[in-house]
Amino acid sequence: SAVISQKPSRDICQRGTSLTIQCQVDSQVTMMFWYRQQPGQSLTLIATANQGSEATYESGFVIDKFPISRPNLTFSTLTVSNMSPEDSSIYLCSVEDGPGTEAFFGQGTRLTVV
């Protein structure tokens, strides 16, 4: 199984600012994903981070708000831009070794926007 490190683990940010979350995997993986978990809610997929090309966003999420980078097969970043209190959530990085395999998750980044 892959070991995933996410940074920061938590942060408190002022509204209107941006936060970049890093996800580092200990091995090369085909697929990386970013999820949002709003307070008391389940996980919602934000986007698939594609290595060497633009991320693929789910309905309701846009690149201007959640720009994603994936420079190589072990690393990705998610930026939450122009934050508002509604962005307060846990953001989780996930990886899969290939289509249909189980997903592994980082510990998440707990973001509070004040």
Partner: protein
Amino acid sequence: AQSVTQPDIHITVSEGASLELRCNYSYGATPYLFWYVQSPGQGLQLLLKYFSGDTLVQGIKGFEAEFKRSQSSFNLRKPSVHWSDAAEYFCASRYNQGGKLIFGQGTELSVKP
């Protein structure tokens, strides 16, 4: 659209008692099914998965789940709950090999002494 339903938002069981967490999926064919656990302040850990074959699957920490096609269910069970099992449990599915992973709403498990 594909969906996963966990009917119980919160369950409380006594330590040592048996546990069953319910999960129903909407897709007609046999999906890929998973159970994850999320302890407070932690990410998600995979408990078990079902792709095909034997409908009773064993997982980590003494958990098992049974796939029942006739009921579109994949309920998670444990014969004797420990206090450390208190956590949030998520059922998830994907309807084909490359499909998106869809999560249920989660069931919060509390364990009383």
